[in-house]
Symmetry: C2
Subunit: 149 residues, 2 copies
């Protein structure tokens, strides 16, 4: 089982899902709902339906579910994965999760995956957003310059 | 054969590739180089390597190639597809392409695909960019308001 927001898909996501798939036979992906993302980070750019449907199209992905808004362990109880793969930058505390899983008598192995070393080509969501803004500001600047001549 | 920039992947791309795949057995996708995109539209947000590598991960895609910078028919001569599927919004003129293919003795069927009617969930690249900018401007506004109190 792998989890995430998967807003503006990039090679860091692909690497994470590919590594997660290597750990088992079936890769089940849980996509965070819009309201969970809003609580944890910010408004997602693309809707939960779009994010689920895009992830469904990836070769290494077998099943995709939308998470629940309240308790993040509910979906774990429903799916009962053998392994949960955490991305290198996912903010969850490994020890807390392990204790919570034990408390719920969920026998799940927790694996923290290494960082994607894709070289200069790493396009994280934040970097993509920065590039969009930079391109937009350049465009506005050009319009001001070109409008004056 | 399907072609495109595929910058910031969204459900419109998925629909286009899915429909293109239905027309034949093997779906070959040609991704436009950064310099071709710069000539036709604007700076792409994600690099040509990222765009190629993401498309490679999609279930319906069999092969992916980077286009050439100069002549758009070179790659058609190399791949020799049975069918070229054009998206509903691709700016190419069907008649011009048909004539150019004939001139080069390329026996390729040209199919113009219908528009994606994904309802309110349609996230085109331009809409994604608008949402990123709106989110960024809202954030700056909030910082100004919160900084004053």
């Amino acid at each position: 089982m792998a989890t995430g927001t998967f807003d503006l898909l990039h090679m860091g996501h692909i690497y994470y899902l590919r590594e997660a798939k290597k750990l088992g036979d079936t890769l089940v992906v849980v996509v965070a709902t819009d309201s969970t993302v809003q609580k944890l980070k910010h408004d997602p750019i693309t809707s939960q339906e779009s994010r689920v449907n895009l992830i469904k199209e990836l070769k290494m992905v077998d099943e995709v579910y939308l998470g629940h808004d309240d308790d993040m362990y509910t979906i774990v109880q429903e799916i009962k994965p053998d392994i949960i793969a955490l991305g290198f930058d996912q903010i969850h505390n490994d020890v807390t999760i392990k204790n919570e899983l034990k408390k719920r008598k969920l026998n799940v192995k927790l694996v923290r995956l290494p960082k994607y070393e894709g070289g200069s080509d790493l396009d994280g969501t934040r970097r993509i957003i920065q590039k969009v803004i930079a391109a937009h500001e350049f465009q506005k600047k050009m319009q001001r310059i070109e409008g004056k001549t």
